[in-house]
């Protein structure tokens, strides 16, 4: 099994238009999906992220970052284990938010560092 980080990107402006009921219904669907992933042994952890934050670099000490301008922002991450990149991608493909077209997910393999 290899580890993967699923970066969830969504349209921030659209997301703010979602009604509270819709929001709750979406969370229920996601919870069910995560429960399934836990059952199949793929789920490790995950957190939602605020879509605003700070951006730091050498020449600009602190700013609200370029991401506030961006249409899409990373709104959460899920850490999973999977057989291979294809399976990780297939898992992400079945995320209810992806199926409904609300988010896109970037699937990134974690580089394993050999300690030997």
């Amino acid at each position: 099994m290899e580890n993967f980080l699923l970066l969830i990107r969504e349209d921030v402006k659209k997301e703010s238009l979602v009604s509270e009921e819709e929001f709750d219904a979406n969370i229920q669907k996601m919870t069910k999906w995560v429960e399934e992933l836990a059952e199949s042994g793929n789920y490790i952890s995950g957190e939602p992220l605020k879509t605003t934050g700070r951006y730091v670099g050498k020449d600009y000490i602190l700013s609200d970052g370029p991401f506030i301008e961006a249409k899409e922002a990373i709104s959460g991450y899920i850490f999973i284990q999977a057989e291979n990149i294809n399976q990780a991608a297939a898992i992400a493909q079945n995320c209810p938010e992806v199926l409904d077209g609300r988010v896109v997910i970037e699937v990134r393999p974690i580089i394993e560092i050999d300690n030997d």
Partner: protein
């Protein structure tokens, strides 16, 4: 005698249910140049042909054989239309195969197909859906119902799986012996997930759900008997049997949900528990897997005379080890519940409150139900009510709602 249109329809429906998957898998195995999609089309065509011809000529003496021959002829035509003509079916003994079909509900062919479905490139959910469709032989409607998906959702999932099979030229063929071993963990996982789907209480006493558990057991048994299975297969078998032994006691006379404490333990199937113990001892002597821990937990529940005398200390230790093996917040919740009943109340509540902070878990109905129940037992009725109210909002199952509502009503007295 010409059969009535209704009789023909019934016969075809029956055959479709019992033979569809087997015919598709047979076509896949007989010719590598037929992909899954065309195999399905061919079998569909053959059934349509049966419906038309049998209305005119009556149902033949060997209906399954008739449809199978049509499949074969259509497959031969398809192969001839292609550039390469290979005589795939010439030397096959179809009559032998047809009798083999009816002998046993599970045969090597099905086991081979199960291994073919265990594609490491598919997500576990897709593996389960493909297995349910092609190995267990369920219709899309039934799959949608038991996996709480829409029919459209299952269709789309199958369509994407077929596209992937075509685009990436994934061969639905029996893997060689080396590959077979490599796929055993996935095969176990599929069987485990199918059993769990069948076991989930939220659906109530629907026949189809018990059938899923039986299917999982049959597939696992075939795996054990084939000699391909290992110690983990035996542990998985023991775990499923221990749980299946308690099946009958999980619902009351009105079909209502009963928790472990309320269940009439005399309804537990002693013979099945004994039978399961045999597999548990077979499973010893190798590496200890998650299935071993789960089997041991189920065993301890089966051995307890009543709820109170359950060995909660050992059960909580087993959950702890299960967590070390594969950390996951849902198992952690069960660990906390076992800790509560073993007397470690503070540690249990600390874990449950910690889990509440996790983004998905605070929306999880079972976590709120557990917190509700513990507060109820501790006499904190107002807190219990708050958690139960959340639970009621978070589950769609009427059976579960009724169960929680009963607990809430009980507090009023």
């Amino acid at each position: 005698m010409i059969d009535t249109s209704e009789q023909v329809q019934q016969k075809v429906n029956h055959l479709y249910k019992s033979h569809y998957g087997k015919m598709v898998s047979s076509l896949l195995y007989f010719s590598q140049s037929i992909d899954l999609e065309s195999a399905e089309d061919l079998v569909q065509d053959a059934f349509t042909a049966a419906l038309l011809h049998w209305r005119e000529d009556g149902i033949p003496s060997n209906p399954a054989g008739w449809i199978f021959k049509v499949c074969r002829n259509k497959a031969l035509n398809k192969i001839k239309q292609g550039e390469k003509v290979r005589g795939f079916f010439e030397n096959e003994d179809f009559d032998g195969i047809e009798t083999k079909f009816s002998e046993s509900p599970i045969d090597d062919q099905q086991l081979k197909l199960l291994f073919a479905c265990a594609q490491p490139d598919f997500s576990p959910k897709v593996q389960v859906v493909i297995t349910l469709k092609y190995v267990v032989n369920l219709k899309v409607e039934a799959i949608a119902k038991i996996l709480a998906m829409s029919i459209d959702g299952v269709d789309k999932l199958l369509l994407r799986a077929r596209q992937k099979i075509r685009d990436e030229k994934i061969l639905f063929t029996e893997p060689d012996i080396f590959f077979l071993k490599y796929r055993i963990p996935i095969v176990h996982k599929i069987i485990y997930l199918i059993f769990n789907e069948g076991y989930k209480s939220s659906w109530g006493k629907e026949i189809i759900r018990e059938e899923l558990c039986e299917d999982a057991l049959l597939m696992n048994k075939a795996l054990l008997e084939s000699g391909i299975g290992n110690k983990e297969t035996a542990a998985l078998h023991a775990m499923m049997l221990f749980n299946a032994a308690r099946f009958k006691a999980r619902f009351g006379s009105e079909g209502e949900l009963l928790d472990l404490e309320q269940q009439d333990r005399s309804l537990w199937n002693r013979e099945l528990i004994l039978y399961a113990s045999k597999f548990m001892s077979d499973s010893q002597g190798g590496p200890i897997s998650s299935y071993h821990y789960e089997a041991a937990i189920a065993y301890l529940h089966c051995m307890a005379k009543d709820f109170r005398s359950t060995d909660w200390i050992s059960i909580s230790k087993l959950y702890h080890q299960l967590l070390e093996n594969s950390p996951n917040p849902f198992v952690e919740m069960n660990y906390a519940i076992a800790l509560y009943y073993s007397g470690q109340k503070q540690k249990s509540l600390d874990i449950l409150h910690q889990l509440q902070q996790k983004p998905f878990l605070n929306q999880y109905y079972l976590l709120n139900a557990a917190l509700g129940k513990i507060n109820l037992l501790e006499g904190n009725y107002s807190k219990a009510r708050t958690y139960f109210t959340k639970t009621l909002q978070q589950t769609d199952s009427q059976l579960e709602k009724d169960y929680v509502q009963k607990l809430v009503d009980g507090m009023e007295d």
